[in-house]
């Protein structure tokens, strides 16, 4: 199971293109996988015959797992391990885990000569806490598994480090256990089901994407201190420029205009420039530090059948609106076909979500971690504004900025929105 991005831990095989016995050559598509965000065809890199499928269609495997075996002329020799290494005498049965610690089930481990370096599948946190306290690997694992906050523990008097004993004591004491963060569906589904009449609903199984959305957004709401700033913008000139630009688009070879820009394309550009003008807000929270970016990479929320995806427009501040528009069309199409690569939806420090096409006037969005902000864009409509001799109707929209207060304070958020407003209301700034 290939690694499809840093944060992806597992994938589901949705299709095998080959059956056991089929001849394989490098480049042949072997199988298709679905991760939490995308699906992808995986080609063979070796020649031979597919001798075994270990993970069937529909099944999930951890990254790094063997999903199938390609056999061929070259069979790895493991000469050093050949003698029938079964024991001549019975091995002492493993003692039950002492002092309640979970003994890891040990599988026989073949140290064959071709084995790559094996590393633990999960990291259970840093060895040294913020205050300088050292935590042993086992203690970190036990604490993570039990939901214990290591920051709340202190080494016992005889030890200079937090060890398994300290974590066990905390577990036994029943205190300090953190509310478990929602890692997808927890709780008892039967209790929910019992509230509704049988037959009045259909059950929809969760796919990886829905599961990931549930986990990440729950985590975002629980861990990011959100606050919200709304501002009204006059989009009159932007709307006019857009119409004029589209009306004068050169014709392509197919006789169609070579581009058709959306209002959102302009807003992405404006948001990229605004972030560049306020670099302190073009940053992400990395727990013990802040990462600040020189270029503006912006996630753009795309609704797909399976759920929300946010492909990232890189360097939105440096691209022309036409470039952004073309890129968005491509990313949107591939997001809807679930053909995005992980590096196309990861990264960035901010995102834009636009529900204007549904007539939504304004809304507040949940920040997509690890971003620091997300800009929620409402519908453009004609609203009255006061003039010297009364009022007139102009195109206006309301945008709401969700901020992570750990990075973006109110004033900084205001500065960012103000920069955006200026760029939208004086769109010549987008051209020069």
């Amino acid at each position: 199971m290939p690694q499809l991005g840093e944060t992806v831990a597992e994938g589901r095989i949705t299709k095998w293109f080959k059956a056991p016995g089929d001849a394989i050559k490098p480049g042949d598509n072997l199988f298709e996988i679905e991760t939490d965000k995308t699906s992808m065809e995986v080609p063979a890199i070796a020649a031979g015959v597919l001798t075994e499928i270990r993970v069937a269609e529909g099944d999930v495997a951890l990254v790094g797992a063997v999903v199938g075996v390609i056999g061929g002329a070259m069979t790895a020799s493991t000469a050093a391990q050949t003698p029938g290494s079964t024991r001549s005498e019975p091995r002492p049965a493993p003692a039950p885990a002492s002092s309640g610690l979970r003994a890891t089930a040990q599988q026989p481990i073949k140290l064959n000569p071709f084995q790559e370096v094996r590393t633990p599948e999960r990291n259970f946190g840093p060895a040294r806490l913020a205050g300088g306290t050292v935590v042993t690997p086992l203690a970190r694992r036990l604490a993570a598994e039990a939901g214990i906050d290591l920051g709340q523990l202190a080494p016992t008097s005889t030890s200079r480090r937090i060890s398994a004993r300290d974590v066990e004591a905390a577990i036994a004491g029943g205190t300090k256990a953190r509310q478990p963060t929602d890692r997808g569906p927890t709780g008892d589904p039967q209790r929910i089901i019992a509230l509704y009449e049988r037959g009045s609903f259909e059950e929809v199984a969760l796919d990886n994407m829905r599961r990931t959305i549930a986990t990440r957004l729950t985590e975002a709401v629980q861990t990011i201190p959100h606050f919200y700033l709304s501002i009204d913008l006059t989009t009159q000139r932007l709307v006019e420029i857009r119409e004029e630009t589209n009306a004068t688009a050169p014709m392509g070879a197919d006789g169609e205009p070579s581009y058709r820009l959306s209002l959102n394309d302009f807003l992405i550009k404006a948001w990229g420039l605004a972030l560049r003008r306020v670099p302190a807000a073009n940053a992400v929270w990395a727990h013990d530090r802040i990462l600040r970016f020189a270029q503006s990479d912006i996630g753009v929320a795309v609704a797909t059948q399976g759920g929300l995806l946010t492909p990232v427009i890189r360097k939105a501040d440096a691209k022309s609106v036409i470039e952004i528009s073309a890129e968005m069309k491509d990313l949107t199409a591939r997001a809807r076909a679930r053909r995005l690569k992980p590096n196309e939806y990861q990264g960035g420090a901010s995102a834009i979500s636009n529900l204007g096409m549904y007539g939504v006037r304004e809304f507040a969005a949940i920040i997509n971690p690890p971003h620091a902000t997300i800009l929620a864009v409402g519908a453009t409509d004609r609203r009255p504004i006061e003039t010297t001799d009364g009022f007139r109707f102009v195109s206006r929209m309301t945008v709401t900025l969700s901020c992570d207060h750990r990075i973006v304070d109110g004033a900084l958020g205001g500065e960012l929105l103000s920069a955006f407003k200026s760029l939208v209301e004086h769109p010549v700034g987008l051209l020069v």
Binding site: A80, S85, A95
Partner: protein, 326 residues
């Protein structure tokens, strides 16, 4: 059941295999009529005669070359290198020839031989006759490496080594030759690649090899009696293949690990095992893995100095206690 010395067990182990299989032959310097400089092969010449038990010239390369030729042409030789330090003068055979022949000939040539050798310190033989060099062999792909710590294992692992289809380096510890142990009657056949839990315990795992096994056991008793620390002692027995299941299983229960090595510190066998533990059992560790080794120095000949540099019962006890209680 009989009580046998480690040196007598060597002769019995070889005799068991020579009696079973007429293809097994044995040769080395002063091993036949004199019965070996360590008297570990007394009686074999008388029992099996000059055709199967031979004295050789003083040339380690000749001994190794003869063993390889005999092995490739159908015999199952056991060859002695008197001091394992002398592997350095015939290392081409050990590193380049024995372990590669099957591979490079695509299985057309086989090299089923056993090199047995006197290994280790404690006998005041000085820097060139006292080293523990099992790590030299552990690093060569294609060699199997065993180092028994007691008379019973000497016989059982010798049988396993002779019956193995590939070259096996058999390290006998010179300081263990006079040590006695209970040995069952009849044929004994053990399995390569298996470690033994020689003392179960729950607080820490101590991995030891050869002469370090009795020292680790004594230290474990002392830790229990004086400090209430209950150590599991594992006799690693076989470095290649390595019984990772027993070792990692023990660490999964005790969560602490110590190696006791006679190898000098750099690249001693414990370093490789600790590396495997870091890969496979990192989140089972409740404290750093600790290696107790000989320092990285040429071994001194003076008795006081030699005793001072090898891991002692006292040093093992103190190191484990300090690490667990600090």
């Amino acid at each position: 059941m009989a009580e046998l010395t480690y040196r007598d067990a060597v002769a019995r182990g070889i005799a068991q295999e020579m009696a079973r299989d007429p293809d097994v032959i044995f040769f080395g310097e002063d091993v036949a009529k004199p019965g070996g400089v360590f008297k570990a092969t007394v009686g074999l010449y008388e029992q099996f005669g000059p055709k199967r038990v031979r004295d050789t010239p003083i040339s380690e390369q000749a001994i190794m070359g003869a063993a390889m030729g005999a092995a490739m042409t159908g015999l199952k030789p056991i060859a002695e290198i008197m001091f394992s330090d002398f592997f350095a003068v015939c290392f081409d055979y050990i590193a380049n020839e024995f372990p590669k022949s099957r591979y490079m000939s695509n299985g057309q040539l086989k090299c089923p031989l056993v090199v047995r050798t006197g290994n280790g310190a404690g006998s005041r033989f000085g820097a060139q006759h006292s080293q523990s060099v099992e790590n030299w062999c552990m690093m060569i792909p294609g060699l199997k490496v065993v180092a028994p710590s007691n008379p019973r294992d000497v016989i059982g692992l010798m049988a396993a080594a002779v019956r193995d289809p590939d070259p096996v380096i058999f390290f006998e510890h010179k300081s263990l030759y006079p040590v006695k142990g209970e040995v069952p009657d009849g044929e004994i056949v053990d399995t390569l690649g298996t470690a033994a839990i020689v003392r179960p315990g729950k607080d820490a795992s101590i991995l030891a090899l050869a002469l370090m096994v009795p020292r680790a056991l004594e230290a474990a008793e002392r830790l229990k009696a004086e400090h209430g620390i209950d150590c599991e002692v594992i006799d690693v027995r076989s470095l290649v293949p390595l019984d990772t299941q027993t070792i990692l299983g023990s660490i999964a229960r005790t969560h602490r690990v110590f190696t006791v090595e006679e190898n000098p510190r750099l690249c001693g066998w414990g370093a490789e095992i600790v590396s495997i533990i870091a890969d496979e059992a990192f989140y089972d560790l409740d404290g750093p893995p600790v290696r107790i080794t000989t320092p990285h120095i040429p071994l001194p000949a003076a008795d006081v100095l030699e005793d001072a540099v090898l891991p002692t019962v006292q040093r093992i006890t103190e190191t484990v206690r300090r690490s667990l209680q600090s």
